[in-house]
Symmetry: C2
Subunit: 482 residues, 2 copies
């Protein structure tokens, strides 16, 4: 009775989309990194002492300390008896009371509305209105467990064949693999538009139109995803570029999905974050009536609270009946975690100047963002000096995405192992240095080019160690295969 | 430019499954209950002072206090500085340290493995092994944000047409609407089998076979869902009944989905919880090789931590390649919330006799379960005395599901309002007493019968008030329509 033929579920009769989907950020190389960590613990000899996980934007895993204010707010809401403790500042206590009053039975252990705790949704709306100088209706805010579930629920809404054609979703290449994975999982068509590496990963209308026209032949393009600041590319879109995208989307009746989770991560002095909501609204009619979903997370920025799973989405200009169906689809998952919702409250309603927590909060926030800026520059400068590398500036987000000219002999060696050349490069790097990065093919890249994504998150001493090991590896790799 | 014709998304071109799906537990009556609460706050005069939310198993919302041990564990993991505080017991500190050592960078702010923190998965496996007296492999454990995402991911795995036929999922009627909602969302076929109300909501093999044979004509039945203890029915399956279901599933090559989230909620002295895992394993080959997914949550039992979103699933005997695909599908959602994972740790690794926290923990646990038992009996006794009611014992879970003989004149009055008779009854109850229950049609019921689900969760004084209001309402309703 052993063997798989006796099983109800086999590869041939399960969801075929599960088989095609890929999610490189947690793919085989990352699994291998985990194995190596275990081997090191067991005393297996390696040419390195520890694994550097530069594969994922996981700030605390790389040593970033949590913002005290956020953790205090969590403590006070999860254990209201601490409201009597003198160890917590009054302004944080007041915020905790506000949240608790918004919970059924004054407990974060109760289910919340599926769209989240009303008082926190209102705080998000105030935050967005202040950020953009444009009104925001709290009914349009949904609290989500990180940005991912929000993105998935909007993509699921678009899952509808029109005139027998599958829905097409335009995504930038390179892109964050949540999009490719979800589009594959949902059986939709991914419509690639390429960012221009030569001009700092900018976005040209001509390329958008080319991509759209080509896709039109086989699917029904319904939405465009824009990631700003860019992941994995680290670019920050100019206001003019955003306006062009909005005009393009309007002309072609596309819903805009704006992934803006890195809005606080801007390092380049000449770059500035503009939200799609702000630009679209300020462009006036008809653009200001366009359907837009924008996504934010507590996992990035300066909080870096990835494990807590907090986030929100704002959806504007959607027809009320459709909004009702989206809302209904979310109710079956009951609600997002209250810890994540409290984290969102900390994100959008931080201590104000003059309040007891302010000085500590602002020092911690500036410290984290300052250190990220330094590391963005360090990584860019170091990698730019490598032979055969082309590296765009890290204007924002948490990643660098260098192009590596891989010598033909290395491409052959990769082929012999049945690996794409960029995966081979990343795999050799991992095995010989312990540095874990993600090959460019996981994000998409122009055919014949090779890239990888590395985070800029390791703390400065580790990052310097990483850059040294990387330099040594790369020069040996080039010597071997040139 | 106003009006919906200008919109990209309209009811005609969005995911059609979103339109058909229903989720009664958070349906229109519950939304109305929220409106009534706001009206009361604004001073609108009503024949009652407050809304009693008996529609959802939301323990803390109804006044249940959190288990101190769980909240302390959360505090210590979210703010490790408290590990130096004398206010926390040593055994809880030791547990917190174990969890933190399992987190990247020793922070709950880091992403965890998609299947959850390894040390907590191991704790779950130990807990299951001790519960069942049967081995449990921690690799088979996935930590989930409540039970719902686990159930949804297993159902998504089954989403595959075979021989052109849609997958069929057998669900009990009445059932918890997560199943009907997800099956509709995923475009699968719901295959109803009826529980026998006359014999205390038990499950007959003849009915299973009838349901299966009928379904075979139009779909491809692939799995059977069993909810034990039952939601909304409150029954606890006997071991013999479980064996029959397992034999039936084996004969018909069905994967078993065992929803066992109420396993700690047993009130009837003659009832006992047996897990499907235990029974199936002890039945020996070939049953012990069957594919089974079982689900557990921190939202129910005696913890009642609905908002934190903790849960786990155990999947056994699945072919490794299929398991890999399921795992891959989960990675794109990154990971469940760490707060929920810590809550799972509290559930499966509670204080042991002799440890400093034990006395308080066990007193709180027994207090909660004892009070639930009392209320289960009170609700059953009171409702049984109502004219035209048939009420089965609440053997377990958190609900009562009475059958109400609704007089023909009331059915006519409902029709005039365009409502099913059970929705009319529940709506009249809400408007005249503030009691919010869910009509039986949200769970499914035999045609021509009318039921509703009420929780047994209001604290005893509120519950007595609720029963008095309910009695008055029902006798007036019967007078008016008899």
């Amino acid at each position: 009775m052993s063997g798989n033929t006796s099983k109800c579920l086999q590869l041939e009769n399960i969801n075929p989309n599960f088989i095609t989907m890929e999610y490189a950020v947690r793919g085989p190389l990352v699994i291998r990194a985990g194995e190596i960590e275990k081997e090191l613990k067991q005393g297996v000899k390696k040419p390195f002492d520890y694994v550097i996980r530069a594969n994922i934007g996981d700030c605390h895993a790389m040593g970033q300390k949590p913002i005290t204010f956020l953790r205090q707010l969590l403590n006070l809401t999860f254990d209201p008896e601490l409201l009597n403790s003198p160890n917590y500042p009054e302004d944080v206590k007041a915020r905790a009371k506000t949240v608790l009053e918004g919970c059924q039975g004054q407990s974060v252990g109760s289910y919340t509305d599926s769209a989240g705790i009303e008082v926190i949704r209102r705080q998000v709306a105030d935050f967005i209105a202040a950020r953009d100088g444009v009104p925001c209706d709290w009914h349009n805010i949904f609290l989500t467990a990180g940005a991912s579930p929000g993105i998935k629920s909007v993509l699921a809404l678009l899952r509808c064949k029109v005139d027998g054609k599958a829905p097409g979703i335009m995504v930038p290449i390179p892109q964050y693999p949540l999009y490719s994975a979800t589009i594959a999982e949902y059986g939709m068509t991914k419509v690639d538009y390429y960012l221009e590496e030569e001009s700092g990963w900018s976005l040209s209308t001509a390329e958008l139109q080319r991509s759209y026209d080509e896709a039109k032949k086989t699917c029904n393009p319904r939405a465009i995803v824009v990631i700003n600041p860019g992941n994995p590319t680290g670019q920050v879109l100019t206001r003019q570029n955003i306006e062009e995208i909005i005009r393009f989307a309007h002309k072609n009746k596309l819903v805009i999905l704006a992934d803006e989770v890195y809005q606080d991560n801007i390092y380049d002095k000449d770059s500035k974050f503009f939200s799609f909501k702000k630009v679209l609204t300020e462009m006036g009619s008809p653009y200001s009536e366009m359907e837009l979903a924008s996504f934010m997370s507590t996992s990035k920025g300066y909080l870096g609270e990835c494990g807590i799973r907090g986030g929100y989405m704002e959806i504007i200009n959607m027809c009320p009946q459709v909004m009702a169906m989206l809302t209904k689809s979310i109710t079956a998952s009951l609600c997002g975690t209250t810890a994540g919702q409290v984290a969102v409250s900390a994100l959008v309603n931080p201590p104000k100047p003059g309040e007891p927590s302010y000085e500590k909060y602002i020092a911690e926030k500036n410290g984290i963002l300052g250190a990220l800026k330094e590391r963005a520059e360090l990584v860019h400068k170091t990698l730019s000096s490598f032979e055969g590398y082309k590296v765009n500036k890290v204007q924002g987000a948490m990643y660098v995405f260098p192009q590596v000219v891989i010598p033909p002999k290395a491409i052959e060696a990769a082929k012999a192992k049945g690996l794409p050349a960029d995966v081979f490069y990343a795999s050799e790097l991992l095995e010989s240095t312990g540095i874990c990065i993600v090959a460019g093919s996981g994000f998409g890249q122009k055919p014949g080019t090779y890239h990888y994504r590395s985070t800029i998150l390791p703390q400065t001493d580790v990052l310097k160690d990483m850059m040294n090991k990387f330099q040594k590896f790369h020069s040996e790799f080039m010597q071997k295969y040139k």
